[in-house]
Amino acid sequence: MASLKDIRKRIGTVRSTQQITKAMKMVAAAKLRRAQAAAIAARPYAQKLDTIVTHLVRRLPDDVHPLLRVPESNQRVLLIHVTSDRGLRGGYNSNLNRALETFVQERSGLDISFEGIGRKGLDHLRRRGRPTIAQHAMPSVFEASNVARELARETVRRFVDDEFDAIFLLYSSFRSALSQVPTVEQLLPFERHAGGDDHEQTALDYVFEPSPQEIIGYLLPRLVEVRILHALLEAGASEQAAAMTAMDSATRNASQMIERLTLQMNRARQAAITKELMEIIGGAEALKG
């Protein structure tokens, strides 16, 4: 049985670890609040832009803009993999990495390239021997829109220059503080929403200024950018939520461990007292004799 001193020392260690996990949980909670607010605030713009582009694209020919080109094959695929730079996020990164492997398995026979955002995903790709064409750090909430702009510019260029036939995003979408779901989204080519002709008539009534071609030329790259921004913000919120949950359960586990060790310590102390008493009584008995 461990000595009283050893147990005391272990309790001290666990307690200081618990202080750290508790602090990390609170930091994650504060960051989550900000990340969640940013992700939610960005939704109306993304939805509205999507609606307008969908209306517009349906009635324009494919050759009106290079981003609307329909690739002849679907052989060359680019997957943009969004993970976190830091660990201690519970299953957050491993869930995303597993989703990436599933994506690859489902498309065996295709030529898949990777672009990584976040160190954890890049480490995974390196371990699996999957080469990446570009690596980026996971941006903070404040950097997200600038990073999205840069990424969108590159992504649009890659598609327009015919480097890839299809470009996908893999990121964690934020459902709630307790649920983050790895999500695959097709970024390019644009998926034409089938059916739903209810708005066809109103769309035809539009007056354009300048021409529809010029407006679509502004809107399409913008839509790519907004979708990337959306993914980054969702990923950021998911990451903090996962960190918070992981640190919360670490803190709870530490409490349990402290409880158990305290019990052990009390037993050891009681045993030591009993032993001492026995010795004293034994000694007294011996003197009497």
Partner: protein
């Protein structure tokens, strides 16, 4: 008539209005109720809307404006209410940009970006100066 004003970062407005004036790429234009369905690109400038007889000002740059069945939707690249703008800081930003422009070679790649930034800084100042002034009197 309803006005919805959003940027990629946030939603600024969703309110009933009487009229709105916006900076189109082809010039300033106004939208009154019963306007024909309309889609246009926006430049950098001042967006003015009137609600309950009071005018409000917003500095916008880039984006599009859609009128569809008496709902005006503005998707702006950037937008700030006049009262949110710190005019002194906008002025400093403009000065910094002017210096940067003076040091940049005329054929440099960032020239266009700098010039666009300068136009935005000047616009923010102009719109920021509207804040606090009696909106109806300015009309």
């Amino acid at each position: 008539m309803r006005l919805l004003l959003v940027t990629p970062e946030r939603q600024l407005l969703d309110t009933d209005i009487e009229e709105v004036y916006a900076p189109g790429v082809l010039g300033q234009f106004g939208v009154l109720p019963e306007h024909v369905n309309f889609l246009t690109a926006l430049g950098t400038g001042e967006l003015r809307y009137r609600t309950k007889g009071v005018d409000h000002y917003v500095a916008v740059s880039g984006g599009i404006l859609e009128v569809l069945d008496d709902v005006v939707t503005v998707l702006a690249d950037t937008a700030e209410f006049a009262q949110e703008i710190d005019v002194a800081r906008a002025h400093q930003a403009e000065e910094r940009l002017k210096h940067a422009l003076a040091r940049t070679a005329p054929d440099a790649a960032e020239m266009a970006d700098l010039q666009a930034a300068l136009v935005r800084a000047a616009n923010r100042q102009a719109v920021g100066a509207r804040a606090g002034r009696s909106a109806v009197a300015a009309h």
